[in-house]
């Protein structure tokens, strides 16, 4: 489901393919960006990282503790 207007607490990635995570306000622990396609994971990760670095809020679509979509506000 969608969770709106949240802060990004931290982001993390590894150098293997499609390995990216974030900690989102209100959620405990790391949420992985669901692997689907390499650039798709990068795009979502880019939004989350940009939000974190610039103190912006995001809307995130989360299912089964994985992020599939994000909107930068």
């Amino acid at each position: 489901m969608w969770h709106n207007n949240l802060s990004v607490i931290s982001t993390h990635c590894k150098n293997p393919a499609q390995q990216a995570w974030a900690i989102i306000q209100g959620f405990s622990g790391w949420l992985r960006i669901k692997p689907q396609s390499p650039d798709g994971v990068t795009n979502v990760f880019l939004l989350l990282t940009t939000a974190l670095a610039n103190s912006r809020k995001v809307d995130v679509l989360i299912a089964n503790n994985e992020i599939t979509e994000a909107t930068l506000r």
Partner: protein, 569 residues
């Protein structure tokens, strides 16, 4: 101009229109026509007018609004042509029809009266071509889809490629309002339920008790129903689909007001970027302004000064006006049309002559559909149909035969008129809604991008510079101009593409699937970053997101409704 016989008495089926007596006062006479009588700066002028009107049992009414002062105030708020006439000087005379000609002659001789003329009864621009009889058989429980019969939706050159437009954000006409001006509609039709706004000006004519009879009312309602179906028929699994099904389509009725007044009222319901369609033509000078069953010699209404002024008013508001060229088989370049009728103002110039001031309405002729459409052959694809008016003033063409749409009942009939469909809608009447639909699709794309909306003159330029060219047919060469058939695959990039500079990024969005990234710019909906390569999409998204996060502006290149390049400022 109109003679005594010009009221349809000798017609097989008289048209729905009536003659109109229009009076134009000279500037500075300062007339006030009120319910209690006529006043003027000069008592002599007021007295002469009153005497002439009283003698005929007539009443003088401002044509374009309740009072001269209100008309003038509204006109001044519109950035129209600098040489546009003062609409407050136009009047409509209510009088018994058999007194109109003599009254016009009397009024035209008075001091302070610049012109007084009778306009012949107007008609839908295709009445006699559309003699389809409804099928008596009852339809199936669920109407089947007829979309495969709507070849005009298909790719160019046969169609206008509406199906392409539907793949572009806004390309189904979202946010665009259209008003169809004619006499009758059936807005309760099963395929006109989603985005119809109904009759916004005046009242619609209705089917007669026997809707299958060949009567003026039945023809008028079928005609309007067919027109609005072409433009805005519902998106569903049954019947037809309109060219711009997300556009909001309403109607203004000539049955309630003089034609120019109806146009003005329709314009006041709309805003910049919306569209007015004029489904009307009149007997012209070729046959002495006489109504005829065959509609030979009928011409577009902008030739009459008050209708021309009303169109200029709408265009001045930023509205695109689309006008049927008429089914009179006339060469509008003929010198006949340069001859000013004695009852017209001396300042009048033939608007069909490109050397003169244009109304800036998009004038639409009727072209042949591809041979074989519905098993019929009307000549070479995109050749002028014999009934279509033609000339340098005609901007573009649409299908003038074989248009599948709502109404009439020859494709699907039965006892319920809300289920009627036709396979044979024809005329400049069927051609004009195709152009309206194409413009609504293009305008919807521009709206979705937050770009600069097309004006009527911009629409003319774009339609003339794109599309599938007119073709020759023996006896009907392409030199008898009706212009190109629109091609939305060309038209949309032409009007919507380009750099949009110094924009604010409001939102960015990404999915974890390949090349799925979007942005909202100030004034737009979601615009996709065009998928081409994964890293290219990511790079554009990075720029847009950095700009958003840091309050920076961007320049973006919009192509076919998507972002293809971005620059951070």
């Amino acid at each position: 101009m109109a003679k005594d016989k010009n009221r349809g008495e000798e017609r097989t089926v008289p048209g729905p229109g009536h003659p109109e007596l229009i009076v134009i006062m000279s500037p500075g006479v300062d007339v006030r026509a009120t319910p209690s009588g006529v006043r003027a700066a000069s008592d002599a002028v007021a007295g002469d007018l009153t005497a002439a009107l009283d003698e005929a049992g007539a009443k003088l009414l401002p044509l374009f609004g309740p009072t001269e002062d209100r008309v003038r105030a509204a006109s001044e708020a519109v950035a129209g042509s600098p040489d546009a006439p003062d609409l407050a000087t136009f009047y409509h005379v209510e009088a018994p029809e058999d007194r109109l000609e003599s009254l016009a002659e009397s009024l035209g001789q008075l001091d302070g009266v610049e012109a007084a003329y009778v306009k012949p009864p107007a008609e839908p621009a295709a009445t006699t071509l559309n003699d389809m009889a409804p099928d008596a058989g009852e339809p199936p429980a669920a109407t089947p889809s007829f979309e495969a019969r709507q070849g005009y939706l298909d790719a160019a050159p046969g169609g206008i490629d509406a199906r392409y437009a539907w793949t572009v954000a806004g390309g189904r006409g979202a946010g665009v309002r259209v008003i169809d001006c004619e006499w009758g509609w059936r807005f309760t039709h099963e395929d006109l339920t989603q985005n119809s706004s109904g009759v916004l000006v005046g009242s619609s004519l209705s089917y007669d008790a026997d809707p299958t009879a060949a009567t003026s009312n039945n023809r008028s309602v079928n005609h309007g129903t067919a027109v609005v179906g072409e433009i805005g028929g519902d998106t569903n699994a049954l019947g037809i689909t309109g060219i711009a099904p997300d556009a909001t389509v309403g109607a203004a009725s000539f049955a309630s007001f003089p034609s120019a007044s109806t146009i003005r009222r329709a314009a006041d319901k709309l805003g910049a970027g919306d569209i007015i369609l004029l489904e009307i033509h009149r007997p012209g000078p070729r046959h002495n302004f006489q109504s005829r069953d065959d509609q030979q010699g009928y011409i577009a209404i902008e030739w009459w000064p008050d209708d021309f002024a009303a169109i200029q008013y709408a265009v001045g508001k930023g509205i695109i006006v689309v006008e049927a060229a008429g089914n009179g088989a006339e060469d509008l370049d003929d010198g006949l049309y340069n001859t000013r009728p004695a009852s017209f103002p001396t300042s009048w110039r033939n608007p069909f002559n490109p050397a003169n001031t244009s109304s800036q309405a998009v004038l639409v002729g009727a072209g042949a559909p591809p041979p074989g459409t519905h098993g019929n052959n009307h000549g070479a694809d995109r050749s002028r149909l014999g009934f279509s008016n033609h000339g340098r003033r005609v901007d573009c063409q649409g299908w003038g035969r074989e248009v599948t749409t709502t109404g009439y009942g020859d494709l699907q009939g039965g006892s319920d008129t809300d289920l009627w469909y036709t396979d044979r809608f024809s005329g400049t009447s069927s051609a004009s809604p195709i152009v309206v639909g194409a413009l609504a699709c293009a305008q919807g794309v521009i709206r979705a991008q937050g770009g600069t909306l097309l004006t009527s003159s911009g629409a003319i330029a774009a339609l003339r510079a794109s599309g599938s060219p007119q073709q020759d047919q023996p006896g009907r060469p392409a030199t008898q101009r009706i212009g190109n058939r629109p091609n939305l695959r060309q038209l949309i990039p032409q009007v919507a593409d380009g750099w949009s500079n110094n924009r604010t990024v409001v939102r960015t969005h990404a999915k974890n699937s390949a090349q799925m990234a979007w942005a909202v710019l100030n004034g737009t909906g979601w615009i996709r970053v065009a998928p081409r390569s994964p890293d290219g999409v990511t790079n554009n998204l990075a720029i847009l997101s950095e700009a958003l996060a840091n309050g920076r502006k961007v320049d973006v290149l919009l192509q076919q409704g998507s972002i293809t390049e971005a620059t951070i400022r």
